[in-house]
Symmetry: C4
Subunit: 207 residues, 4 copies
């Protein structure tokens, strides 16, 4: 029922942040990564929320973007994943990386997330895969990177990977093959786009 | 508990609209027809709401008028129709047309609505018929048309139909017979009031 | 959780009133007598509320005074009386008269209330009697009458009855005996305090 | 979901206080000790709250400090202690004294609290002990005393006890031994720090 809360960041506590709107302080559970991305206490924030209603509890789970919130909502639709487990997962992976992992059947990346075992990782891939459209995922990641580019705090790896996939797609390869091929390039942290593109192309030619 | 929410139309999302009141954004499920009738995002809106409370959910269903909301509340009293099914139905028919269909035992019109099968259509007619007073329905439809006349975006068909029924009633026929007779006039979209009135009269004389 | 709602009286509907606070319109079920005592729509009102939470419903029951609300809360503690039945009862009797009826074991007056049968009337007396202190009830009724005196719209009968009981108590009779004696004076509407006092005294002397 | 409510103290009723924020009055159950520590009705207050959600109830329990609220939250995690029992307990002991009692295995002090029997007292000690870090408890108590010192309304006994424990710890004794030794000094109300320290030292030497 509550889509977001806009107000003063009143407190950052160990397990929740508190946002005050009109004299009411709201406890909001957020991913572990969020406090580091928040402005200082006292500033105005807008937190996109999911209201979790149970017989004995009514709590808010919050995210900095609607995109992260929608990934969270997708995760909790997966049988066996509750809000706390989904929050734990999204504390350790961005929404885009999780989508890429699902699209690339990357069980290893998903089961490495806290509270997510191998079986649940497979269920996530099975249940979410057909809900995710690759080009949409692609576009949303790139648009964020462009925004991030200006703030120059984008993760370099993400940029190199996307440039390479983008180039392969423009050469006519399907996004999925491009994604898998780029994914298989090792030690991507220490290579530039061109090298990554060449190695990915070699893998595609061998397919 | 929440009768309406008055605030800024913050977002129109695929399945909900978001209205902000005092820093809190509220998710409101609305009929598919509503987004098209809303002002632009950022404008002030007043959405009449029904708060649906379940063991694991608390959500708002919203309508542009109290009249539409009251039709919705009637529908969800019908055994087997929940809020989402009622919303689906009211996305495809106006409250007035639904009332006319109930009063005219028009099972075909009702079962054509998404999520409403033949049995449910009959249940709607049986359970709602004695809650609807024909003249009230009539008056509410006409008063809306008059308002709509000024905004000249009223559905032409609705206007012709009501003029014909109004004329028949003034000739002494019961509203129900007038309604049924006018209903049976085919290809009403391409006929003017006079022709529709004549054809309806022929049917009434044959009764 | 919600003690009262202070805001604009937005609508008076057949079964609820709507009070708007900060852009949110709240549906509040009130006793049938309340709409008649409300200022005009658009005025500022303060409605004392009881929030009724059930598995599939969350609704507000409202009263013009905290005293009426506390009587309502007492009534719904009686086994078998829910909020709607209590509201129905308090639509037909003031909180003070109901307290007097309980203290005077007046089953007839209580079972005459809509939705309250003989058994429930007895349960109300049994379960509420020891929660009501006669002098408190007495005082609260009189203080209201004094307030009402200035607005000169107090019910005459209530005034005569209290004056007689007050006089008997000052003569040394217990409030309970005084109350019962005055209660037994017939056709009280058409008698002045003095006559009522004399007839009540005759009954007390016969005890 | 609601972390605190900041607004006007509207009413202090026998079992709840009412705080108004934006036209909504909120009923908040508070420990018996709180009304005495509140400013006058009409002043601005900030009450830290716990929202208790049950199938048929949604209520707020409130405290003047986040520290008291966190002690309350710890207590209701103990099997068999609900919000009302925890509130009753915290009406009769400060959060710090309760922590000291838990750390010093002081069953007598805990079972003396209303609604807490011997078994529950032991459960409180067993379940909370490893959640409490002695130095943190120590520091929080001392920092409060220092604050209280300036308002000179600190409980004298608390001051003497902490000074003695502080001194013993600086002499190299573990906080636990120091706490237990000081706890065993009788008639502490009528002794100064030095005497208490000497008697506690004698007990430690005998250990």
């Amino acid at each position: 029922m509550i889509s977001y809360i806009k107000g003063e960041l009143a407190e950052i506590l160990p397990d929740v942040i508190v946002v005050e709107a009109n004299g009411i302080g709201y406890n909001i559970y957020v991913p572990g990564s969020v406090p580091g991305e928040l402005p200082s206490v006292g500033s105005e924030v807008k937190i996109y929320t999911y209201m979790n209603v149970k017989e004995d509890e009514c709590s808010l789970f919050g995210f900095l973007t609607r995109d992260d919130l929608s990934m969270f909502k997708m995760l909790i639709c997966v049988n066996g994943i509750g809000p706390k487990a989904a929050l734990g997962a999204l504390s350790n992976i961005t929404a885009d990386d999780l989508r890429f992992a699902v699209l690339a059947d990357d069980v290893a990346a998903i089961k490495a997330l806290p509270g997510i075992g191998p079986k649940t990782a497979q269920k996530i891939i099975i249940e979410l895969k057909d809900k995710l459209k690759l080009d949409e995922v692609f576009e949303s990641a790139l648009s964020k990177n462009k925004k991030a580019d200006n703030n120059s705090n984008v993760s370099n790896v993400m940029m190199i990977r996307n440039d390479a996939v983008e180039a392969l797609v423009s050469l006519g390869y399907s996004s999925k093959d491009a994604l898998v091929a780029v994914k298989e390039v090792e030690d991507i942290e220490n290579k530039d786009s061109e090298t990554v593109l060449k190695e990915a192309l070699k893998k595609l030619v061998k397919f």
